[in-house]
Subunit: 263 residues, 2 copies
């Protein structure tokens, strides 16, 4: 069992309206290693956002974060005075600043996440499949922090033509005992692996994963949206400080009500 991941060099600067499928397919063609059935392309969300024109003026950054926010999950004042907002965005993704980011954005602008990264992935996969004849999968990745652990990893915010989970439910280990781990998140693991060749500063927004064709399938497979756990089933749906404060107010009010009611 073996696979490889390779960065795709030579993709030109992406601008609003760029035909990403064409740019990617052409760059791969020029590199002389044509796409094959079962290849998986991991595409940095930044270039998808650029092609879709998802940018606003840098001055409007705070407003853009607010607009992208469905729910504030946690906030923290930083030593410098700025506030970090951890929020859930339209896509159900929880992260700092709703994914609104200035790095690798055109001068004077910030980029928002793609409007519907699963749809973007599907359009890209369909475009590349029809151009090349190779049944490839596409993952759209973004870089996010996470609870409990320092640093960031790339995860899948969009996917098409790829099984986002390796569904092992009902399977057994070598000795016949049921597996405790039943749903490895293939799409997140692939996004993270691809980060290792794309880098942040190198201008390599796409990587090809070769050798994991068993995870490639129809374009209508569930996308990365299916990875998002709904807040009402999540034990960490809210920051600990925020939950404590909400509880404190409720407890305080409840005690006052009890005190003032006739006994």
């Amino acid at each position: 069992m073996r696979f490889s991941i390779e960065g795709v060099a030579g993709i030109p600067e992406v601008v609003e309206g760029s035909d990403l499928a064409a740019l990617i397919a052409d760059a791969i063609d020029a590199a002389g290693a044509p796409l094959e059935h079962g290849d998986i392309l991991v595409v940095t969300s930044k270039v998808v956002s650029k092609a879709e024109g998802r940018s606003v003026r840098a001055d409007d950054r705070e407003q853009a974060i607010t607009d992208e926010t469905v729910r504030v999950v946690a906030t923290r004042e930083n030593p410098g005075g700025a506030t970090t907002r951890i929020v859930e965005n339209r896509l159900g993704i929880i992260g700092a600043a709703a994914g609104v980011d200035a790095s690798n954005a055109p001068e004077g602008t910030v980029l928002l996440l793609p409007l519907d990264p699963d749809a973007s992935a599907r359009a890209l996969a369909a475009g590349i499949r029809s151009r090349t004849g190779a049944d490839v999968g596409v993952i759209v990745s973004d870089t996010l922090g996470r609870p409990w652990r320092e640093g960031q990893t790339d995860i899948a915010i969009g996917a098409a033509g790829v099984h986002v989970f390796d569904d092992l439910r009902g399977q057994a280990d070598a000795a016949g005992k049921p597996l405790a781990v039943t749903m490895p998140c293939v799409a997140d693991e692939l996004a993270g692996a691809a980060e290792l060749v794309k880098g942040k500063a190198a201008g390599v927004p796409v990587a090809i994963v070769r050798g994991l064709g068993r995870f490639v399938g129809d374009l209508d497979l569930p996308g990365a949206r299916s990875i998002v756990r709904p807040a009402d089933r999540d034990m960490f749906r809210q920051g600990a400080d925020e939950a404590y404060e909400e509880g404190y107010r409720a407890g305080f009010e409840e005690a006052q009500v009890e005190d003032s009611s006739p006994s």
Copy 2:
């Protein structure tokens, strides 16, 4: 930029006292593709635990979880009546059941996580370096769920001879703007990538990552312990329900104190 990941076949069943470095090096030797400078081995924690004799009788599972637990982070009653305990273990790692797991454990037993996975990784890396002459890195991986997202990914619980972060602090993007993402967690991304070839049911506990030698270094580099964010700096150090309840009690008591104090 390109790397590959390959599962190491032919590692025999690991038992207490097994010389893991020898078993791994011999299996790689037999496969005919000798280790090279800059290779990174990702080793499933299960085989490290087995070699270290970190097993207890299955009947003692609940007690073992309690013993491994430093702090209960969140609990939830499942529909069947069983309780899921999300806990911080001795290593600072937060996960279900403190990593105590029956799958792939010898019949009638459960396996605990290695006592000090960074030390285990260091011993393994030193053993393999001295046997093969190749300066390799070692990551010890485990499979864990995470907040906000369904499914599980493999992460690094031990590391030696590997830079666990790609430290980009102070670097700029292609246009010279400071990068927002500054510490990709290489070790977690590698652990996740290796899961894709090791699988859960396949009995392939080790993978070789080849082509990322730039992340390999001295055996005394900081280990995976440096990835753990201390609870007091973590916005999600406690489950939302648990934090709410704690706040509620505090608020309730505070209101009663205020009410009974002379005005």
